[in-house]
Amino acid sequence: MLSLSPIQKFVYRLNNSRRTARVLLSLPVWLMAIIVLIPIGVIVLSWLHPQTEVWQHLIETQLGFLLKNTIILFVGVGVWTLVFGVSLAWFVAMCEFPGRRWLEWALILPLAMPAYVFAFVMLGLMDYSGPVQTLYREWFGAKAYFPYMRGTFGILFVMTSVLYPYVYMLARSAFIHQGRSALDNARLLGLSPWASFFRVALPMARPAIAAGLSLALMETLADFGAVSIFNFDTFTTAIYKSWFGLFNITAAAQLASLLLLFVALALFTEQHFRRGKVHQNPLQHQRYQLSKTKAWATTLYCSTVVLLAFVIPVMQLIVWIVDAENLVWDQRFSELIKNTLVIGFSAAMIIVCVGLLVVFGRRLLGYRQNSGLLRIASMGYAFPGTVLAVGVMIPFAYIDRELGQPITRWLGVENDHVLLGSMTGLLLAYLIRFFSVALGPLSTSLERIKPVYQHISQTLGANQWSLVKRVYVPLMSSGILTALLLVLVDVMKEMPATLLLRPFGSETLAIRIYELTSEGEWEQAALPALVLVSLSILPVIIMIRRSGIRLRDKQ
């Protein structure tokens, strides 16, 4: 007990009044839960004003197929992201096949593609009037059967393509970290390869897979852009309809609060599957050698996914850019890029810092504490952006009016707004929305650091600073980096909150895309969309590079 870290000393010192210590350590997660609860509270409070007439109408004409569509989307995206995410992660992490090294990172690239961009590209390409079906009709005649693209199949294809990377990334790193010794033992004990996968590898990777899956599911629930391009009615589109069509923002908020039920389902799924420990086997990592046919089949499978989910849509964007007549690559583009990057990086840093405070607090307290609060703090991700934006805006406007403006006036500074329409407000909104994106990789990487490492370092005389510098940061670096880059990519793609809460004049690429697509000028939107995709690719590649190097170090 001699070489205690200051934090531990602090905890021990407060041991007599454990409540004080607990309060201090759980402060970050409490604060986070509170700022997430405020907008959610605003939304839920809408039930104070029952909208009987609207609800009667909704129940009579809409609710049935809205529920059906939402469930189809929820279950469909869940199943398909699992199937693709886990299988791809397994091949890439555990098997050797031609092209593995570049497929390993290429498979993450669809993450850089905003769902709304993929949706308009996909319809431009595959709908009845698009080039594919036109050619098909030329070959096989006008009446030849072609699957209907704007329905369930199309929307599931789009959502799965952009969301499977969440599952893939987290599953891949779990497979790599858990190594294959447990699997080899299972095989020695007589399990077939398939059985050892399903009964050993998969359960071991379950926490990571669950984290990826819940991100994908929450994003599915929140999506408005892609479903509205497909005119596929879900709960989210109904929210907008009540708001913009029936002019009833209260009923819209009530519908939005019902989304909470689905969110609860997503979180329950995660909690259910997350039980169990994070496994780590720092020993050598050797991949399975596949037979030649199997190896090439794997290459074919992985590259088809990359082709469909990334290469083809990007090619289509390029074709549109080349075809467009009056392309404007003016000075404003560099401004747009700069704004997008600055806002993205600032938000990513803030969110990751808050995330670190929260996970360290939880670690020192023990994981059973505050898990309810943490779930609340993670809910922002599942709300449709505009609804959350309004939920954030209303309290912001209130604070500005009641607090911010009197203070600034008293200080003698003339100013319209402290929160609403300021960078501070926008960053806060991102924090609420994207906290859970950072949380997954951060807590997984912290859970991998066994307390014994800390004890050993301290026995060897490490002080608190070198403990952080030489144990925590190196061991968590890939988790921190993943969190940073995931948030960065998500913030750069984010549209509705940025639209509503941005300061005057700070346009981003996503806003430019909105301006063009909302009037149906998809081809014109191709250039900003491609720039946005390219900007997002960079962090994605860095992310892969880092984790790749870690792996090579070990080999």
Partner: protein, 342 residues
């Protein structure tokens, strides 16, 4: 792990600068002669005009664009502390709603009264139309004779079975179209017509007008209902496109028109300057561009539409006061839900 340290440092610096810079910027802006606009009309259609106005008068115009709903919610939430002087949007229904929610102030402007026809402005003088958009029929010149077409209502007849393409009922233009039909024809008749449309659809509704027209071009259907400027855009890209416009209901109520327009917000900080800007936008100097940038029709009768638009010929427009589109919009949405129009 240097990158962590370096990037942490860099971004902390960045963030601290960022968090304060907008405060400074806003302070500078508030002092000067600045008009603030919340607009759901797109940036590339308004910015050139604002830039011209600034060059001419020295008055700065700053704006944010978003969908009308969120902007109205923001105006309401901000209340008396809003920085916005003008709320500009693209549908009479939205303008009516904004007026209903008391977001506008009454404007006393003989200039606007003279420039904007009475049926294209608010009865309360709190908003004014600035450009006219006609929602009309477009047909395949390969498969349809113009003599086959007559009215919006006729598209519900059996001879159009499997030949009609429509945009989603969630788009405000269709809500306003149906709302004005309810006003003229009554709810029962309108519902029967909308049901007829749905029964005649060749494909589930599209998410935008361009896609809808491309459906006609590709042979998926023969006729569609669209706003004319989307047609202009499509024809500009390929003048050979086998599509043509048809003006329906010429023996009756006329073509359905809607407006984009604007009003001065109730809590405007700079209402006089805002009024001058609106008067300028409705005047002869700006109207040509305000409508022309998007190939719409000017509200100001003294100004001719662009050559492209003029080439489509004259038509009789429904002279119903466009406010009806707002008043009956919720009824229209419910009617379309009942009729199964998605």
């Amino acid at each position: 792990m240097k990158w962590v340290n370096i990037s942490m440092g860099a971004v902390t610096a960045l963030v601290s600068v960022l968090s304060f810079s907008p405060v400074v910027a806003a302070t500078e802006a508030a002092k000067d002669n600045v008009i603030t606009v919340y607009s759901s009309r797109k940036e590339h259609l308004i910015k050139p005009l604002f830039d011209r106005y600034t060059a001419k008068t020295g008055t700065q115009v700053r704006f944010i664009t978003d969908k009308a709903g969120p902007l109205m919610a923001r105006l309401k939430a901000e209340g008396a502390s809003t920085p916005a002087d003008i709320f500009m949007t693209v549908d009479a229904g939205v303008l009516w709603q904004a007026s209903e929610e008391d977001l506008f102030r009454k404007v006393d402007s003989p200039v606007l009264e003279a420039a904007v026809p009475a049926n294209l402005q608010s009865a309360k003088d709190d908003w004014y139309g600035l450009s006219i958009r006609a929602r009309t029929l477009v047909y395949s010149t390969d498969r349809v004779k113009p003599s086959d077409l007559s009215t919006y209502e006729a598209l519900a007849n059996d001879d159009w079975k499997g030949r009609v393409c429509l945009r989603t009922s969630k788009k405000i233009y269709n809500k306003s179209l149906v709302a004005t039909m309810i006003n003229t024809l009554g709810e029962e008749k309108t519902e029967a017509i909308v049901k007829g449309w749905v029964a005649n659809l060749a494909a589930p509704p599209f998410s935008n007008d361009t896609k809808t027209m491309q459906g006609v071009v590709a042979g998926q259907c023969d006729v569609a209902v669209v706003n004319t400027y989307y047609y202009a855009r499509l024809m500009k890209k390929d003048p050979q496109t086998p599509l043509a416009l048809f003006w329906p209901n010429q023996d009756g109520r006329g073509v359905h028109i809607n407006v984009s327009g604007a009003g001065i917000t109730k809590h405007a900080k700079n209402p006089e300057a805002a009024q001058k800007l609106l008067e300028w936008l409705a005047g002869e100097e700006a109207q040509g561009d305000f409508a022309g940038l998007n190939q719409e029709y000017p509200v100001n009768k003294a100004v001719k539409p662009s050559p492209v638009v003029a080439a489509w010929g004259d038509f009789t427009a429904d002279d119903i006061n466009v406010e009806a589109a707002g008043r009956l919009q919720a009824a229209a949405v419910k009617l379309m839900d009942r009729a199964g129009y998605k």
